[in-house]
Symmetry: C2
Subunit: 518 residues, 2 copies
């Protein structure tokens, strides 16, 4: 009997004469309980269905990802044949925590293990020569990234003038793409690369559409786009480490409307039985909130706005494009390493997440952000440091948001002789202010701070105070660790502190303070 | 016969028995032409009036600032006496260019000389001990600043717990301020300090109200405030180097409404015959556009928004509070020197102006931003470098603003196979975008660039490209100078260039490029 790990993919080949497509939803999978003998499937409610897809070589395949251990029964029916059988689902391996899901304003694996996205960006790495793809994987194996933004379609951009050796579809006689004829070379590679990433613990954040196109993929009709999308869902959906990114820069695809994007989003929500995370990324205007979005994928250097976006959307916010570490003459590709590191800390300590990318000019045009290859920057190891620190933090946490309601009732003795409280003053200021400026004020006053049950992590960012005045809970005792985000050090600054304390700080940028209850 | 330089102040003492106030508008000044004998005053149209003010010592004084050379006649009438006479106005001295006025989106002295504001901030320097005031003046004499933000009323804030030795008013028997009884010690000092600043070529940007108050000045009634304001206008208006700042953080003064501020602004517009620059500074919401405002005085770290504010207000924009170079545990007082320098370049190259301040923690609590004293930072000399460079630029200039209308009609070959032009693409993107994001997009795409008749100054800010692709006017020949804003160097990078040129750059932050037609 075939065996497969829980959350892993089992695949069946469906014979066909090569002319007739199989029926949709032709596979049924029923869990038989922990042992095959004790429980019988109880009907359609327990029954999961899967569709087959044309493998492009005249055959059909059908994939399923079981979410329970034990014995499963299946039956697969086509016009020509009926297959039945059983397979065993074993306990997941040590590295297999299942798919990632949204959990509140953050993420978790299906088995409950914390997942904190630390993404990178290699838009067109699977469209490069084999050797370069292997190098990319090798680099990833030594890097901290656990999510990668990557496109199905190739990319046309500065530094991206080479053509890939294959495309997702074959062409019609008239030279246009035939979305009903997948190129098996392409899709087998994509499958393999998603599997390779899975082996490295990396979520494949698969970008389904983008505008940087000289081949015509961005101009497929809505029907063609839906056919392509359904193929992706059926073929790729059983991958454990898959996320759907409807678009890179949806608002720069000139032939697609919000109605189109909604149709795509709703198609995924309806047809993807595995409920992979779904987002859509913008060039100017973040996509309006929709039920099919599981999280926000935002392009912006305005990391302070994470606070507002979290409130507006009520779902996790990933700054998937905050600029890239590099030295190009473009605003999007010229961040210093300290600034990239800063943006990660900033996003994280505002309760969001951030994504890396690298764009150092090279005469051979192999830039990580598009083609993968090697990393040359200085931010990745610092991002690793942040990642390790976050994964070590105990329990759950929330980002602190500036909220006049929770301000102390103490005198606002700074202004007007103390005849109002801090809270009254802030409420008055905000009450009198006009829209966008209120947002900016709240963003400015919201600290970069995570609060857990037993700790507070505050990040000072570009500020460089020589001291900070703490108001610690009375009756609790804390230790204070000063973290240098660039030097990647943590230094004990005080132990046994409580109540009001003035704590010395290094007076440089990129400092964080971790207060832990002793 | 008394003589006075053009644009300087002439003052008359008006005898009084000390009980009766003089009439308002009791002085009339008529220009007699270049020599006293040739022209007779021609009536009210040519006649300028001035009011007298109580000097607080029982006497009255009357001030006038002539704007033409030659002989002037005057007559001063009170209930008790009538004074008449003549005085001669001589050519202004070499350093005397007259008062500063708004000229388009920038500033100029009355004689047409360029004035580019490079301000600093010492809110309460005149409320400190004499010796410290002298030190402040000494520091200013060696600093690049030609404008200073300073308050009439003392300041209550962290690091500002000391009381001044005198106040603008004396008190009533009930302990409240009597705005009709100016303290002569205070006002003589203020006059002297404005004169001292004038001697250093510094405009006194006098803040009339602010909320950081433990003495009650922020809670004067509207009538009291207007009486105080009229006193300021009559007493101080004839100073050549005076600007009016209605408020520091108007929207944090809890007893004042927009109607109050408008009443104050309109009073100045109506009564200040010298038409000093007038602004009002905010904590959250920039004051709505009013006719009485000559320029914007903005508190914000969002220097990118200069582009939008210039468009919205149509008057010069000064970022009068961009944060202070320092190391305090407050967001407003913890900028690094490179960041302060960056904000100056950023503001200037967006067609705005910026103001400096310093807040380094000191146990003696003498911080420049409030008390003056000494400068300890590293930004001032770099601001001097920028100032010298700007004053050297030939002719007039405008900041470049991203505008789809002026984009080249070339193919937008980045996206969708070049089937639209760059211009079409940008118009489409902006047309589809929603409000605040359009603003941000325009801010992001607007270069930090000044364009003159024969030069372009581009500032790369936090970006650090290793090259830039120039599209220079064909038929014109340029030289390129790479400016390191931190190292304060200018290095010849190319000469005799024209058309499309790729120019190497240092790949570090804080670089500017000056292209000059040869």
């Amino acid at each position: 009997m075939q065996t497969v790990e829980k959350y892993d993919m089992i695949e069946f080949e469906v014979l066909s004469d090569g002319t007739e497509p199989v029926l949709k939803h032709c596979g049924e999978f029923s869990h038989c309980g922990d042992t095959a003998d004790t429980v019988t499937p109880e009907g359609p409610a327990d029954c999961k269905k899967a569709s087959a897809f044309a493998d492009g070589r005249g055959g059909y395949r059908l994939r399923f990802r079981p979410d329970q251990t034990g014995v499963w029964k299946y039956s697969i029916r086509t016009k020509e044949q009926s297959l039945c059988g059983e397979f065993t689902v074993t306990e997941p391996g040590e590295e297999n925590h299942g798919p990632v899901r949204v959990s509140g304003d953050h993420f978790a694996y299906a088995d409950g293990t914390t997942y904190i996205p630390f993404g990178t960006t290699c838009y067109a790495w699977i469209h490069q020569p084999e050797e370069l793809q292997e190098q990319t994987l090798e680099t990833l194996s030594g890097a901290p990234f656990n999510k990668i933004r990557m496109c199905v379609f190739p990319k046309h951009m500065p530094y991206n003038s080479n053509d890939p050796d294959c495309y997702p579809f074959l062409k019609k006689a008239d030279g246009t793409w035939d979305v009903t004829r997948p190129d098996p070379v392409f899709w087998d590679r994509l499958d393999q690369r998603i599997r390779d990433l899975c082996g490295l613990g990396i979520e494949a954040d698969l970008i389904l559409f983008h505008p940087y196109d000289r081949w015509g993929f961005s101009r497929l009709s809505r029907e063609e786009s839906l056919a392509y999308l359904e193929y992706c869902i059926v073929r790729l959906g059983a991958h454990r480490n898959l996320w759907w990114s409807l678009a890179n820069e949806y608002d720069d695809l000139k032939d697609k409307t919000l109605e189109d994007w909604d149709a795509y989003g709703e198609t995924i929500a309806r047809q993807d039985g595995y409920h992979h995370p779904v987002s859509i990324h913008q060039i100017i205007t973040p996509y309006p909130k929709r039920d099919w979005m599981t999280h926000c994928s935002i392009q912006s250097g305005r990391i302070d706005k994470v606070t507002i976006w979290k409130k507006q959307y009520g779902i996790p916010v990933i700054i998937d494009e905050c600029g890239y570490e590099g030295n190009l003459p473009f605003g999007w590709g010229s961040l210093t390493a300290p600034e990239m590191v800063h943006r990660f800390w900033w996003a994280v300590c505002r309760g969001g997440f951030c994504t890396h990318g690298e764009t150092f000019h090279r005469e051979d045009e192999v830039l990580w952000w598009a083609k993968g290859g090697r990393l040359y920057g200085e931010s990745a190891e610092r991002i690793a440091f942040l990642k390790e620190l976050l994964y070590r933090l105990p329990g759950e946490w929330k980002a602190a948001v500036f909220d006049p309601e929770t301000l102390p009732d103490a005198d606002a003795d700074e202004t007007e002789g103390g005849n109002e409280t801090v809270q009254q003053r802030m409420k008055r200021l905000i009450g009198n202010a006009s829209g966008e400026y209120v947002e900016q004020f709240i963003e400015d006053l919201s600290p970069n701070m995570l609060k857990g049950e037993s700790f507070t992590l505050q990040y000072f960012g570009h500020l460089r105070p020589v001291y900070t005045d703490l108001m610690l809970a009375e009756g609790k005792i804390y230790r204070a660790e000063v973290i240098d985000t660039w030097e990647m050090t943590g230094t004990l600054a005080a132990e046994g502190i409580s109540g009001r304390v003035r704590l010395g700080l290094p007076g440089k940028e990129g400092i964080a303070l971790l207060l832990t209850e002793m």
